[in-house]
């Protein structure tokens, strides 16, 4: 210890005050809550698999996703084409594997964009209050009044289809939820005395917002973001199903359902298999979100 630094301070009887409970890690508790129940773990496994599949798609897929064998079109599942082929003779399994990339890219980028914008706006609205609060939150109310698909339709028809435009369209549509959640959480977090204390020290507003408030307001946002990725994937599939999403021939699960449903009577695997993929992934993200919510909830400390 550096005793030379504080000659004027008498040694205090430290041992007298220092008896505390043994160190106890919050993160360890969270992990034990998370892995203690089956569904979040299943969700996590699904998502890890999805990420691995998306990364290693070229290695896993038996055929290139856009390779057409017109002679072998609309085949039933076989040893050569495990999930059959579509109306243009493309291998369904390969397209599902490559479709995971589209879903994941859109899911993550849309959630990232909408969360960042939503968090910043929500933080500003709740921290400053007054007119800023009213302007931002009334704008969010207006945004929420539009059904998200309608909004995405509007943006897509203005900008045209395509990956980037879909990301912009869904990104705008998804801002309201994180913004409102953030606003509510910040309003309660900013009541804490440590915010007052930071102001009394002369900390700048920007620093108080991002250093003192944001870390304490973030856990519920993390849950919303996780579940949000699932919702975005579902919305993208819906847009692609309606034909205003990703432009063909890029493989997307929604587009595949659209292609396949015309043959639902003769070759149901075509439409059902991408549908199952969507369902599994959305389920995975929702379960992961639920698990995170329970793990991060301090009120459940000691309960589960």
């Amino acid at each position: 210890m550096t005793n030379d630094a504080n000659d004027d301070t008498q040694p205090v009887d430290i041992a007298k005050w220092s008896e505390t409970a043994p160190r106890y890690s919050e993160i360890k508790r969270m992990i034990s809550v998370f892995v203690g129940r089956p569904l979040p773990v299943i969700g996590l496994v699904i998502i890890v698999l999805l990420i691995l599949v998306a990364i290693f798609a070229p290695l896993l897929a038996p055929d290139p996703p856009n390779q057409m064998e017109i002679i072998n079109k609309l085949q039933q599942p076989s040893s050569e084409h495990w999930l059959g082929t579509d109306s243009l003779g493309r291998d369904t399994l390969s397209r599902i594997i490559f479709g995971s990339r589209t879903s994941l890219i859109i899911g993550i980028s849309v959630t990232a964009i909408s969360s960042i914008i939503g968090i910043v706006l929500g933080l500003l609205a709740a921290y400053f209050g007054g007119a800023i609060y009213h302007i931002i939150m009334r704008f969010m109310d207006a945004l929420m009044a539009f059904p998200m698909l309608l909004l995405a339709l509007l943006v897509a028809s203005l900008l045209g289809a395509g990956m980037l435009n879909i990301i912009i369209a869904l990104g705008i549509g998804m801002i309201a939820a994180p913004c409102r959640l953030m606003c509510g959480v910040v309003m309660s977090v900013k009541q804490n005395d440590y915010v007052l204390s930071a102001r009394a020290m002369g900390m700048s507003n920007l620093r108080i917002m991002f250093q003192e408030i944001l870390p304490n307001a973030f856990p519920p946002l993390l849950v919303l973001m996780t579940i949000g990725i699932g919702a975005v994937i579902l919305a993208e599939a819906g847009l692609s199903f309606l034909g205003i999403g990703i432009t063909p021939p890029t493989a997307t699960w929604g587009g595949m359902v659209n292609d396949g449903y015309k043959f639902i009577m003769t070759n149901p695997v075509l439409a059902i298999s991408p549908g199952v993929a969507i369902m599994l992934v959305v389920f995975g993200f929702n379960m992961l979100g639920d698990g995170l919510r329970d793990a991060l909830d301090p009120k459940l400390r000691g309960v589960i």
Binding site: T9, P11, A15, W17, T20, E26, Y194, A200, G202, R207
Partner: protein
Amino acid sequence: MTQENSTNVVELLNLKMYFPITHGLLRRRVGEIKAVDDVSFSIKKNETLGLVGESGCGKTTTGRCILRLYKPTAGKIMFNSTDISGMNENQLRSVRSSMGAIFQDPYGSLNPRQTARTIIGMPLIIHGMKTKGYDNRVEELFKLVGLDPSMMTRVPHEFSGGQRQRLGIARALACQPELIICDEPVSALDVSIQAQIINLLEELQEKLGLTYLFIAHDLSVVQHISNRVAVMYLGRIIEIANSKELYQNPLHPYTKALLSAIPVPNPVIERKRTRTVLKGEVPSPADPPTGCHFNPRCNIATGDCKTERPQLKDVGNGHMAACFRV
């Protein structure tokens, strides 16, 4: 510390803090809460001024005005002879480093996601003192408040209530302030820990020559630590005197009632003594009574109490009371 230095560290001159009550979408101003209504007092160097009163009487608001967490409606706050009441955030920077604040709730006043080291070092970081001696200074502060420096990497929930309040004190001391506003620093602690924290505060005052504004509602704690005590009622100071004098010879009827509410830990005396029990409740600070704020509950009030506001008058030895009947 030397006692002959009697300069005022803080002096409040007719401080007023009114909060607007707004109504409806257009935020129409329909009234105001007079949280602090014309308060004047001063605190000398190395002195402890106790500020007591019941909930909602404006003691915390007064403290926060001095810390300039609020911009006062009117009046002056002289800090080392400079008026800080109208300063903007930039001008306040240097003032803020010479004031410290200790808050009531040791759980709410520490950021749960920062380590003890960061919490205590934060004032130094903010005021650009994260230089060579930073680590030593943080460790020194830990020892100063009686905490083991090996606990620096812990987060607040790993400390007990008393230890957290020590962290709060260490943080308030980081920039070597002259004045510390203690806003009910022991109210949230249990009695044995209260004594430890009070002793620590006294020890630090002697060692570092600090000046305290000690806000509390526990009269016995205030009596113990304060040199002078000011009693507040509905935004006004109604009596201010040396701690000993105030407790032995209270003049204002409210102070008398307040002091008679302290239980005597002897059943024989307790049964015999007559208590002054106040009638009614504290009126709303949005619509205070005219004249003396205390007149509706006072047992010696007469006609002029309802019409005129009694000013603080000196009755000798610096004992001041705001009552016509003294």
